[in-house]
Every structure is written in structure tokens, then in C-alpha cells.
Symmetry: C2
């Protein structure tokens, strides 16, 4: 299902190919997010044109609306959304816990040696999600209705959604949880991984007319080297009824400044013949750190989310096209960029569309930011293959963060 | 600029071609509206694919934001919005008066013999627009700032916007205005038409490196036969410094049930070698009524506006795809429809996107409704050319309004 093409000398990085029933993915690759079975504001043919090789949807959202049974009846998420290529779905664990427990914000903050305070997440009563050893009770963020996810439920939902690559159900923690809680959660995630493998095997058998779905185990362990390595060894070697994980996701609480190091611990332990996905990452420095430490695929909502707020990625960093100085700027968002937006529209037009609150502006800026991110990872792949990765990294990050004071 | 191809026997209807510097328009044709230099939620290439021959933008909106000077700097509205074809702009009069005087709603209601009450429009103090013989003072609906439109200002704005077909500045009235007021307004519009012709000639000379823009006079007169005929004769014969109108728009207060009759009065008087545009009309019965009474082009925001509210045009009338019964309907919006939406997506998916509040749903439903309307007028053209117009009309309207009790 995964083969390695080229390796980065003395590092964990590599280029490769993930084979799926709906096509191959050349790695490293950035996988755009289609949360509710659509990349917000962009049609699937356009995503193909800008180079997307696969799309990732969220099981939690599609379970709540329209319901995974309806997606199943439609022939799976790819058929439903008119995407003629590989698809991923996550397990639902991230959304259940982050939307449910009210610690979403903590996750995106950087960890500045804050005290470990399990109680900083909402108290048990106010929480919309509660974990027990068997699974998670949670309330829908849409209507407050009560639902239960277990490893078996997540596997059934993801089989109904029918993506080519699916993820094991895991417990998400934050950097603010205590070491003790991280250990508990990691053990729960290990036991859930076993149940996921078993349920996946049964569902694969039960639905044997459907194409095989690859199940990726999810490696947690926060900032602790021993926990990350243990989780990677546990899931890397795990076999239940002859079923092993087809690949792995690196998830959960990650200190940005140690991202490469943490990913490296994990990937030193994981079997090297399985693909590795880094969940929810897309900033340029993080992409390089991930790749050289052995990550093959990435997904993130960020390029699309910031696009809708007028923040534009360029080789010289991010800028806001809403600023008054762009009102009469008849140059493209990024000079020389080959994306549809840059080859057909000016900053002045895009500035106008934002001021006029015209929906199509979200389409145009999302196209640009997704193209920028996809192409950056494509270029990384190219430079690994060509043996020019380090020069490319230095030049790219030096330019992108020129005004940030960062060194690479 | 306009040539007639085929005529409808014993009626004013005809097929023809409008020649513009940016391409030909085969008529009758429906011209989709790109109010603020974008068809809401749809990219210009997509509008081309679904058969749009030209786009119409609103001078009022583009004057306020980004400013017609900026559109001029961009090379005109077509270049600004990446539309490689003919464009129209209206004069701004409709928006200035309808948004400004608060009688927008009255206009869209049907006229049921209500008393003539000029005062039913907002009183002079509360109005955001006030007409005098020289022009109109109005307040921006965006920020309340005060502006002045005169025939000369409208002509300058429309020259800066640079559309191929532009309209004379006219005073809009409603069916609720008195006969006396209609006469006053009509005379004002006649005098403004003269000033438009003069200003247009001067601007054409001043900007002689730009492609020629065709100026259409606008025929008002509400529901009064004598006023409509007089207006059509006045503007049809009008010549100022050798400049005549290149075509005509039929505008203003129209009783829906007498639409064909009123349009017929106007077109019996207008010179037949000039194109005639019916402003703001797109319902199937109105399109037929317009065409057989001599209208060549139509524009309307309706197909796009109702699409964003989940109302879908089909040969069997309009339906709402938001209804619960479409949740598991895996058929296209309209069986057999060749639009992009119907050939790639199901009602179930579009239903899901509405419930999920995903922007791309506006793209998909707008594509369908614009395609439906464009194709309906294209089919009318085809059937006039083939000599099968009346059969086509009976079949199409009989089916569309089957459940309405209407007869055709």
C-alpha cells in the first residue's frame, strides 16, 4: 500500500507512493480538508486542477449531518462530493473531544511551560464530552443532542463514509493535562486501537464488496519522549486477528518548537514500510520539520480558513489583501504564481470582493492558499528526489520568515 | 450593431444578433446579472460554460464600491472581473431610486388596482433619494454618505465602467404614483435622455482609444398606453448632435398580467432595427410574453437570488431542495438536465450542503438556475428560427405552470 522511492540521507525523510483503490498519492503530500464533504467554497474539479491528490473529511461532522448512512447510500464520501480520487476521514475523536470539552483554544496556543492542570479544561458538569474506558459521551455542537462514540462506532461510521484511509479512534489530550493523565489516556488509546483493528477486520469482511480501506493507528503521548516512543512501538507492532495498521497518524498535543523532535521519536519507532500522516499541520516551517522527520502526508484547515479572512500565503510570508494599500493594486496576489486566482485576477479585484462581501472571494483566496500549500509540499518532494532538499529548505524558509527573526 | 435574422409571423418577436467589440450576442438572450462585477458565487468561466453570452453589472454598486475610477484603471468591468465577452451596465437610476426611496417592495408586489398615492413612498424627509429636474440626490445604502447622480454623472460612470452596452439615466416610478406624477417623471426622463445622448457623444470623443459603447434609451410610462407610446416615439426618434440611441431598454413599473401588452405598445413604436432589452425580468411566462412582443434581451437577479434560498427551477415548476423529502434523494436536481450541477451532484448532496451551510451550495444551485433560464431563452430563439415557437411555448408553459391553474 506504501512504497518508498527516495530517502533523505541521515534523516527519516523519504518520498514514496501510497496506493489506494481510487489512485496513488505521491508523498510527501498535503491533503486539503473537506470537513463536511466539500472544501469550503471550492469545487472538486478545481481542487484537482490545483494539484490536490486526496481530500480529508471529518467523521464527526458527517456523522451528525447528513449521517454516515446517507453517505454510504450515496456510494461513499468521494462519490457523494464528486471527488474522483483518494479520500481520508479522521476518526471523530479530535472533534468530539475538542469541541466537546471546550479545550479547543488551549490546543492552538503555544505551550509556555504552563502548570499541568487537568482542571483547566471545563469541569465535568460543563463539559460537552466525557471520556470513560469504553468510549466518549458527547453533545452535538449543532443541537446539543447526546451521542456515544466508541472505537466500534467510529469504525462503523468510517466504513460507511468509505474513505480509502481511515483513522483509529483515540483520546485527545492537551499539553495542560498532567503526566499522570497522559499515561491513562495513552493506555486507553492503546486498548481502543486493539478494538479498532478488530472492528475494522469484521467490517471489512461484512462489507467485502467495497474497496479495502486502509486503517491508520494514531500515535499520542504529548511532549513525553517515553510515551511517544511507547505508543509508536505499541501500535506499530500491534496485530489483532492477523490485522495490523496500514499506516499511522501522529496526533494530539504538540509543542510547535519541538514538533520535529517529537515526530522524530515516533517515526524512529514506527515500521518504516507504512505511511505516516501528521494531523492538522500546514505552516511552512512545520511542513519541513515533519517531512525531514519522516512524515509522508499532512492535512490542515488553515490554508482555507485564513483565506476566508483575507490572509494570503506568499513566498515572502503572509499578508492581508484587505489592507487599503491593495485597493488600486492591479498585480496578482503573488507575482509569478501559476494558480487560477493569480493568473486571472488582481489584488484590486479581490480587495473589492472582500469589501463587497461577495462569496466568490472565498473561492479565489482559498484556491490560492491551497495551491500554495500543496505546491510547497510537492516542491519538497521534488527536492528530496533531486537531492537538493536542504538548499530548498534554507531558501524557502529564509524568505518566508525573513521578517520574523527566525533562523533555519 | 443589431441585425434581425428571423421573424415571428404576425408578431413583433424576432431572432437577431447584437454585435459588440467583445463579441456577438445571439438574441433573444438572457443576460445574467453580475451586480458587483461577479455573478454571486459563480466564476466567469463557469458562466461561459453554462451558455451566458454577456453579463450585466450595476453602475450604482460599482460607483460606491470600488469606484468606477478603479474599474476604469483595471481596463473596464470585463477585464476587472475576468469576463471575456460582452458586458452591460445599467444606469444606476433603478438602484438610486428604489433603494433610496424605500419603494423597492412596492415594485415587486403586483398592482391590484391600489389607489394612486404618491405619498405611499416614503415622505420627503425620510427618503434616501430626492429627484429634481437636474438629477437625484441620494444616500448610499452602505454608509449613508450623500451623492448626486445626473445624466452626465451616470454617463461618466458608465464610460469608466466600460461595458459594451450602457443605459440612459431615467427616473423610475411605481404603479402607485399618480398619472400626473408619471407624466412629470416621463418628461424629466425625456430631457435626461437628451443630456445622456450629448454626454455620451462627448465621452466617446474624449475616450476615443476605447471601444465604442452602445447607449440604450430607457422607456418608462408605467401602465399607460399613451405614455408608453409617447416615450418610445420620443426616444426612438431622438437625435442630439447626430447621436441616436443604439438600442432601448423597457423599464419601470410593469403590471405582470399586462406585461406583454405594455411591451408590445413600446415595441410597435420603437425603430425595429435597434435591440430592445427588458430590464429585470426572468420568469418563464414573462420571457415568452416579452419575446413575442419584440424583446431581444433580458436580465434578472432572480435565478441567482432564489437559488441561494434553495428554490430550484425545473420544467415542472420551482421546488425547494431544502424539503426533508430530498434528504435521501440520490437523483439530480432535474433529471436529464445537462448543467454541471445536475450531471455531477444529487439532491441529497445539495440538501446536505444547505443544512451544513456550505458556501459551495450557492455555486451549485446558481449554476443550475442560471443554466435553466439561459437555456430557456436559447430554446425560444431556436424555436423561432425553426418556426415552432407556438408549440414550444404551449408545451413549456403548460408544463411549468401545470399546477398553477394558468392557461396559455
Amino acid at each position: 500500500m506504501f512504497e518508498i522511492n527516495t530517502r533523505l540521507d541521515d534523516h527519516l525523510g523519504r518520498t514514496g507512493t501510497i496506493h489506494t483503490p481510487h489512485g496513488d498519492i505521491q508523498t510527501p503530500a498535503f491533503i486539503p480538508v473537506a470537513t463536511k464533504a466539500t472544501v469550503k467554497a471550492v469545487l472538486p474539479e478545481t481542487m484537482r486542477e490545483i494539484g490536490a491528490q486526496a481530500l480529508l473529511s471529518n467523521a464527526y461532522h458527517l456523522y451528525l449531518q447528513p449521517g454516515s448512512d446517507i453517505v454510504d447510500e450515496a456510494g461513499g464520501v468521494a462519490a457523494f462530493e464528486n471527488w474522483h480520487g483518494p479520500t481520508f476521514t479522521d476518526s471523530g475523536g479530535f472533534q468530539v473531544l475538542s469541541l466537546g470539552s471546550g479545550f479547543k483554544k488551549v490546543l492552538s496556543e503555544e505551550f509556555n511551560g504552563k502548570a499541568h492542570v487537568d482542571g483547566q479544561v471545563a469541569g465535568k458538569k460543563e463539559r460537552l464530552a466525557n471520556v470513560d474506558d469504553d468510549g466518549v459521551w458527547f453533545r452535538s455542537h449543532l443541537d446539543g443532542s447526546r451521542h456515544r462514540f466508541t472505537p466500534e462506532v467510529s469504525m462503523r461510521i468510517q466504513h460507511e463514509l468509505g474513505a480509502d484511509i481511515i483513522f483509529a479512534f483515540d483520546e485527545l489530550t492537551t499539553l495542560l493535562n498532567s503526566r499522570g493523565y497522559q499515561e491513562e489516556a495513552l493506555e486507553r488509546t492503546r486498548l481502543w486501537a486493539q478494538r479498532c483493528l478488530r472492528a475494522h477486520k469484521e467490517l471489512t469482511h461484512e462489507r467485502d464488496t467495497k474497496p479495502y480501506q486502509q486503517l491508520f493507528g494514531v500515535i499520542q503521548g504529548a511532549q513525553y519522549e517515553d510515551l511517544r516512543r511507547k505508543a509508536a512501538r505499541d501500535l506499530g507492532n500491534m496485530e489483532i486477528d492477523g490485522q495490523r495498521f496500514d499506516g499511522f497518524g501522529v496526533g494530539g498535543a504538540l509543542e510547535k518548537e519541538n514538533l520535529g523532535t517529537i515526530v522524530g521519536w515516533v517515526n524512529e519507532e514506527l515500521p518504516e514500510d507504512r505511511a505516516r500522516h501528521l494531523l492538522g499541520i500546514s505552516e511552512p516551517d512545520d511542513l519541513f520539520a515533519g517531512v525531514e522527520n519522516g512524515i509522508d502526508t499532512f492535512d490542515c484547515v488553515n490554508p482555507s480558513r485564513v483565506a476566508r479572512n483575507a490572509a494570503i500565503y506568499s513566498p515572502d510570508g503572509r499578508f492581508n489583501v484587505n489592507r487599503a494599500r491593495h485597493k488600486r493594486d492591479f498585480t496578482p496576489l503573488v507575482e509569478g504564481c501559476q494558480c487560477y486566482t493569480c493568473t486571472h485576477y488582481t489584488k484590486a479585484y479581490i480587495h473589492h470582493l472582500f469589501k463587497a462581501k461577495e462569496m466568490v472571494v472565498n473561492t479565489l483566496t482559498t484556491i490560492h492558499n491551497e495551491y500554495f500549500t500543496i505546491k510547497l509540499v510537492d516542491d519538497i518532494r521534488h527536492h528530496i528526489n533531486e537531492g537538493t532538499y536542504w538548499e530548498f529548505k534554507e531558501e524557502t524558509l529564509g524568505r518566508f520568515y525573513a521578517n520574523s527573526g527566525k533562523k533555519f
